[in-house]
Symmetry: C2
Subunit: 557 residues, 2 copies
């Protein structure tokens, strides 16, 4: 029987984190250890890197996710190790995992097989406390808003129009909608409220897009927490919470250094929700990695229609990043599901279904190219894949004028990803990327939405009622017109119907709601239902999580 991810992770020959830091030239005084295998990088060190040249940025993205699994993080880690295996100097940058969801479904956000980042237990629990700090900072502002109202409401907040919801890093559906401040005079003015999960906090998005602590403080101050009766916004700054929140986030702002199973350095930092936020690791981690390595491999949440688009149009645009190459992950199994095969039938070889499902892959290739970035398809190899199925994908990709490379990092680690790494390095080194965001800053907000819907999702139209269009125009009048839009829709389809796999055309994109994240710096466009507070399943994985007699964690992975 093959080893499980956790068995492989436990056998890792981890190096002391200072040794990993030494390789990057980080002196001990700037490497703040958290245990022996995790560390934060001091700002003093980061400041000293300013004049260095940047390495090349490689984005790993994927087809629309299916229950079959694509292995995007696994491929990101495998490619990083593969680049190091062929003698390149490469780093990996991924997101931190949210704690709460691990107690619902089995967790594991650190790759898989022989392409993992360690220590995986810590990464799925408290890690270095960043998300706890974000929860604290968010909670402080929450408390200060109600406290402001309690002591006289000098800012004249309309308690029916408080936008700021509370957060907790736990799947707790009972908190989605509450009435708070009950119990009489001493407890305040009763009002409706609710909780989201921490990764949905705008504080998280601010931290992940901020250049440094002073930029973070400015962004936090810019967040809109409520409106007055005259609809004028009340900012976090008006609550005088931005300074103390920045103090709470002082350490959380610093990138976390860990290592792959092959002892290559990795930054794991930040984790904004991929729906109501942009879904990539922090700008500070990516920028720091680019100063420390010749190649930086990173990933974006969900499929390329959401993840890559937001990576390009929000993160790269705002942080001034230029990706050199995109790796689009596909699997035989996921192609079969896109081709109409049910999950239970994935075991049977079905070349026809693979070919049919490739339409989804083809459109993602086309879309990524439209940003001016060269793309290579990585076929993340599973042991049950038939050779003719793999060949069918490769043939299809070749027909699209691109190339597909089979990668066996899950089973073989960096060595298994050498072919992919070699080709990715060639493309990145060739400097053929001609990146440009999809739309200009000055395009009207509604047109930005239409541009994404038509050019990326291939919809015929965007449906939005007058209220939404008026809201967008109001924000334009208030000076928010130059912000990018952050699309929130199902990740399972190009359309807003999760069951519409493959490469649908002729569909409509209904906009249900728009939200201004003035601190993060984008306008969230909600198309369909989005869940900002998950629930636990009937039998939560927490029921089986425990320490065994050897003190090891069981049931978490």
């Amino acid at each position: 029987m093959p080893k499980t991810d956790i068995e492989i992770a436990r056998e890792a020959a981890k190096k002391p984190i200072q040794q990993i830091g030494d390789r990057l030239g980080i002196p001990a005084e700037h490497l703040l250890p958290y245990g022996h295998d995790k560390a934060k990088i001091g700002q003093g060190f980061i400041d000293g890197l300013r004049d260095r040249e940047d390495g090349k940025l490689i984005l790993v993205t994927a087809i629309n996710p299916t229950p079959a699994g694509e292995g995007k993080t696994t491929t990101t880690v495998g490619l990083g190790d593969g680049l190091n295996a062929i003698g390149k100097d490469a780093m990996v940058c991924i997101r931190e995992a949210s704690l709460g969801p691990n107690f619902g479904m089995k967790g594991g956000a650190a790759g898989g097989g022989y392409a993992q980042i360690v220590p995986m237990e810590d990464m799925n629990l408290h890690f270095t406390g960043d998300f706890h700090a974000i929860t604290s900072a968010h909670s402080l502002l929450s408390a200060m808003i109600d406290n402001h109202i309690y002591w006289g409401n000098e800012q004249e907040i309309d308690i029916r129009r408080i936008q700021w919801r509370r957060v907790v890093d736990m799947n707790d559906r009972a908190l989605r909608q509450v009435v708070c401040s009950l119990g009489g005079v001493a407890n305040g003015f009763p009002r409706e409220g609710g909780f989201d999960i921490t990764v949905a906090s705008e504080v998280m998005a601010c931290l992940c897009l901020a250049d440094d602590l002073s930029d973070l403080e400015r962004r936090l101050g810019d967040m809109i927490v409520a409106y007055r009766r005259d609809r004028s916004p009340v900012f976090c700054r008006d609550m005088k919470a931005d300074g103390a929140m920045t103090v709470l986030l002082k350490d959380a702002m610093q990138p976390n250094l860990v290592q792959t199973l092959e002892n290559n350095p990795a930054f794991v930092h930040g984790g904004p929700f991929a729906n109501i936020a942009h879904g990539c690791n922090s700008v500070i981690a990516t920028k720091t990695a680019l100063k420390l390595a010749d190649y930086v491999v990173t990933e974006a949440g969900f499929g390329a229609d959401l993840g890559a688009e937001k990576f390009f149009d929000i993160k790269c645009r705002k942080a001034g990043l230029t990706p050199s190459c995109v790796v689009l992950v596909a699997t035989v199994r996921a192609m079969k599901m896109n081709g109409g095969v049910a999950k239970g039938d994935l075991g049977a070889t079905d070349v026809e279904a693979v070919r049919k499902g490739c339409a989804n892959l083809g459109r993602h290739i086309e879309n990524v190219k439209s940003f001016g970035v060269p793309v290579v398809v990585a076929i993340n190899h599973f042991s049950g894949d038939a050779e003719e199925e793999v060949a069918a994908i490769s043939a299809y990709v070749a027909e699209q004028g691109s190339e597909a490379i089979v990668s066996r990092h899950w089973a073989g680690g960096g060595k298994g990803a050498e072919a992919l790494a070699t080709r990715v390095a060639e493309i990145a080194d060739a400097g053929v990327s001609n990146f440009a965001p999809l739309y200009g800053d000055d395009m009207p907000l509604f047109e930005k939405i239409e541009t994404i819907a038509k050019r990326i999702y291939r919809a015929d139209e965007v449906l939005a009622d007058k209220k939404i269009r008026d809201q967008l125009r109001l924000w334009e009048d208030q000076g928010y017109g130059d912000l990018p839009v952050c699309m929130a829709k199902t990740q399972y389809s190009f359309s807003t119907d999760p069951n519409l796999r493959g490469a649908p055309i002729g569909h409509s994109v209904p906009v249900r709601e728009v939200r201004l994240s003035a601190g993060a710096g984008f306008i969230v466009v909600v198309c369909g239902e989005i869940m900002t507070m998950p629930g636990l399943p009937r039998v939560p994985s927490a029921e089986a999580i425990r320490l065994n007699d050897a003190g090891q964690i069981e049931g978490l992975f």
Copy 2:
């Protein structure tokens, strides 16, 4: 102008934490660093200490607190440094600070002047994440209870009788009383609920009283979360949350090592509320320190009537600890306030008021002696104290057959506390302590309450209606009769009236409510109002907290 606490702390010549660990014989693999100046002690190392002899345990407690301040933590740290200064091998054990309250009033729970533990900024912020882990573990159980109800309520929880409140580490009065699970079928069954501050969590009390992780898991499982319609208890174990909660608390259970300004080792670990819990640092920290040092100086929350009594009757009883000496902290200023002087008039010399206030001190001396433990009074010296005022306290204490020693650790560090340290070491070495708890395990619960009220508070009677007496008898029938009681009353007076300073007699102690903490292992007896979720003041200190241009924290201290 004298330097502020934070200025002194910033100038500390801290040693790398591994050097502090080296002095205690902790090898690097068992010392888990958090930055360069904090570390957790691995369980493997602690397990290896079992056969060592214990050092001597010294409790620092105080008169009833007044707004003038007593400096209990400052004296604890000063005495620890003083013992080291006279060539003894001593350690300090104190509680961790709660994060939330720092944003209301100015913080600082790490001592003061030249008797401080560093890094004080971290200790007042996230420290090593213990309280965040406790919040997470508590929140997991909260979510699992409502999730259990949502999916069919197999345990038949009566949703009107859910005892388990949620927690957050923030002063957030708006959450004291809420209605949750609103919004329809997908969000559950609407019910009343509320939030306490994290230090009030029974999870905190369990962690602080547990011997090790398996004892912690048992205690967590024993916690009562709700009752059924037939009043039978539903335990945490019935929710199957205890295993996962223990996993979340795995690191939080390990003591935190830091250092004093004079580079002496200190454990700072755990911080249960001193009202609805017992208010001392963790048993595991105290027991580990006793294996590592000849003298361990620790403290208990509030004045000796609450803090020392619970330290003796709950912590020492349950953990099998035997204190060798008690230091009772008094100040000239606090004696004056107990003698009727208003805070604004403390500057004027007033020997008569000092003498009058000494009645409070006298009763605490008598009480501590009744536990069989020798006591010495430490007069924590303030720069404005007049010599004749100090002399008045000394004379009074001598009249009681005890001795008072002036200690100048605030201004002079360990050197300033040498006289106190010398005397404390002599007493501890003499082995004259004959410690016994105030009451036996088998005394009926109501009699336990009466014993404390009459013998410690000097009340004439305990007032409790039939409902409360019946509840206590029911718990006795259910097998909880051997638990100690945990008194929750005002810390400002021996009585339940906060304005009754000095040494009142003839008063009554009204019991408003009793609560069973079956996991922590005590019965909370609520006398008067207790606050389990503080609020923020009109101008919270958070408004002034920020990072200055040098990256230093301003406004927190």
